[in-house]
């Protein structure tokens, strides 16, 4: 009788332990994030406000982004909406299967000239294309860290390490809300674990799938700059035609 009680107690402990342990592994969490990014075509329009390191407030911008992200291709098109200084300026980018990102810039008509540019530089002095592609989810070295609370939401740290020695970003730590399929806080590090920038989700919006997407983000640079990006309009089913990303083919 005593042995039966001990057995039952041990079962209960074991059950409790397994209930308390993480449901997903690092690989599974990474797959959740890759899945959350997939889209046959989306469009968002966002308002960008920048506070420069010296405290100066730059003129707010409005940008539009069209994107497509599936298993074999990822494309982005970014254009300026307002003010006049950014209008008629476009950036097109793609990420290949091997993780390389190509960024092209051009004016209203691609025939005016297409220039390839560094994907790690800011477009419109604000967002970085490399960040939007989130290539760290394809890196081979992924590990789980601690679980924490950010703004009342539970999330788990996922550390992603790059194999590319020359990459300006060598390590990314994302605090992932697995149920939402969203990284609530993403820290990007360079060499020797130097913090380069932090992307924090301030507000979310629910997608048709039930997952959450970032509605308002804060990008804090190591230089002290703060960029606020707030989405004011969006379409989860934006039709992608052959011409949408044509400049990328023209640039090849």
């Amino acid at each position: 009788m005593e042995r039966a009680w001990v057995f039952l107690i041990l079962m209960a402990i074991g059950f409790g332990y397994s209930a308390a342990s993480p449901l997903l592994s690092a690989a599974e969490t990474v797959e959740v994030m890759r899945e959350a990014r997939r889209s046959d075509g989306f469009e968002v329009r966002m308002k960008i406000s920048t506070v420069e390191p010296d405290g100066h407030h730059a003129t707010p911008l409005k940008l539009g982004i069209i994107g497509q992200c599936n298993a074999d291709k990822e494309h982005l098109l970014i254009w300026g909406i307002s003010p006049d200084t950014v209008r008629h300026r476009f950036f097109a980018a793609e990420k290949s299967a091997d993780g390389r990102i190509r960024l092209l810039k051009y004016r209203e008509h691609p025939s005016d000239g297409i220039t390839e540019t560094d994907p790690f530089t800011k477009v419109f002095d604000s967002v970085i294309i490399w960040d939007i592609f989130s290539p760290w989810w394809n890196w081979s070295k992924q590990s789980l860290g601690e679980t924490k609370q950010i703004a009342g939401r539970s999330c788990t740290d996922v550390q992603s390490l790059s194999n590319t020695i020359s990459s300006p970003i060598r390590e990314v730590i994302s605090c992932v809300d697995r149920d939402a399929g969203l990284s609530l806080k993403t820290q990007l590090f360079g060499n020797l674990h130097t913090l380069i920038r932090t992307i924090t989700v301030e507000q979310t919006v629910r997608k048709e799938s039930g997952r959450l997407a970032a509605k308002k983000m804060l990008i804090t640079g190591a230089d002290g700059s703060i960029i606020t990006a707030e989405i004011y309009s969006g379409d989860e089913h934006h039709p992608i035609t052959e011409d949408t990303f044509a400049p990328l083919d023209a640039g090849k």
Partner: protein, 375 residues
């Protein structure tokens, strides 16, 4: 003299306490009036807009936390819906909240199908309507014109494109008065949502009964998963912001009632403690317990009624003030109905009775011999 005049006399001779209590009650009632009228008004304004247009139902995606339901391609749904019994017209509408100038808060931009019935209820006060579907022109509501400091003939930038303001209109619905209006095609182009709408307006013929409308709703649920056919008021009432606003007004009602009751309770308890000897004398002279209770209730209810009346006035003024703030203009249309204001006064009476109950019982049960011995 009667119990009421005696009660009024007692309140009059304690001006500081009376005015403090009345102030506390009126502030609570003002908050209730303002928040409730705004939350009801927001729903009512959208309903009014639809009623003004002549729309019976709207078909839209089930809205979650987004301010507006997400846009969808209209083409594949219009004809099947038109084929339903009693459906006279199916007209698409696209609406977005956009900032149209640097310093102004965002405004609603509506895109209505050119030549549709949606335009008929508006009154043009200046200029002219869009004459075709291809020109980048916009008409602006009178409130929006005031807010954006624009007039007919001015240019306005919307999402990086220049539009000509061809006219200024007025609508009975505040939400339309504070908006910009263009043809659906133009709205789709400027937001890059070609062929898309976020609402399909359904106009039924005059012979549609309630059962026909329910049947239409059921058809939409069955044949268009993820979509719903509802009234505009129902759409807005499901919106998170509206639900939060309503929840806030309910919580405010609860808190204001509790605080009001406690304030009255405290005031009346202090009052009867101070007047213990007076109450003892009245009981000794032949006042019955129920007369003492009537006196205390009279005082507490008069306090809360006066506080309620002042609170209603203050609440109405506060709401008008909010309505005319730049940030809120064109977005709220507070509803003040006689039954609502009557209910608020009723709430004041209940607060008075609730707060006065224990003090009234305590006063009535005083032993005259003990009360008379008090200094």
């Amino acid at each position: 003299m009667n119990v009421l005049s005696f009660a009024l006399n007692n309140l009059y001779h304690r001006p500081a306490r009376t005015s403090l209590t009345v102030s506390a009650i009126s502030l609570g009632i003002a908050a209730v009036v303002a928040l409730t009228s705004i939350s009801w008004g927001f729903e009512a304004s959208w309903q009014k807009a639809n009623d003004a247009r002549g729309t019976d139902l709207i078909v839209t995606r089930v809205a979650s936390e987004n301010a507006m339901p997400s846009a969808f391609l209209a083409a594949k749904y219009v004809q099947p819906l038109k084929n339903q019994a009693h459906v006279q017209e199916v007209v698409g509408l696209l609406s977005e909240m956009l900032s149209v100038s640097d310093n102004a808060p965002p405004v609603f931009v509506f895109g209505w199908a050119y030549g549709s019935y949606l335009w008929k209820h508006l009154r043009l006060v200046k200029g002219y309507w869009p004459s075709n579907d291809t020109e980048p022109v916009v008409v602006i509501g009178s409130l929006a014109a005031e807010l954006l400091h624009k007039d007919s003939g001015d240019k306005i930038e919307i999402e990086g494109r220049q539009f000509q303001i061809t006219g200024i209109f007025e609508s009975s619905a505040v939400v339309e008065n504070g908006a910009l209006l263009m043809t659906l095609t133009q709205a789709q182009q400027v937001t890059d949502k070609l062929g898309k709408v976020n609402v399909l307006n359904i106009k039924m013929d005059g012979r549609a009964s309630d059962a026909d409308i329910e049947s239409f709703k059921a058809h939409v649920r069955k044949m268009m998963p993820g979509f719903v056919a509802i009234t505009s008021g129902e759409l807005v009432s499901n919106n998170t912001i509206v639900r939060i606003s309503k929840a806030m007004s309910h919580v405010t009602i609860l808190i204001a009632s509790l605080v009001g009751t406690l304030v009255v309770f405290n005031t009346m308890l202090m009052s009867i403690t101070e007047r213990k000897k007076d109450i003892g004398v009245l009981l000794a002279l032949g006042w019955q317990q129920r007369t003492v209770m009537k006196l205390i209730f009279c005082e507490s209810v008069v306090l809360t009624l006066i506080g309620g009346c002042i609170g209603i006035l203050v609440g109405i003024v506060m709401t008008f003030g909010l309505e005319h703030m730049d940030l809120m203009r064109g977005k709220i249309d507070a509803v003040f109905s006689v039954p609502f204001l009557g209910a608020v006064l009723g709430l004041s009476v209940i607060i008075g009775i609730g707060g006065g109950l224990y003090p009234a019982l305590k006063a009535a049960r005083m032993r005259p011999s003990h009360a008379l011995r008090c200094e």
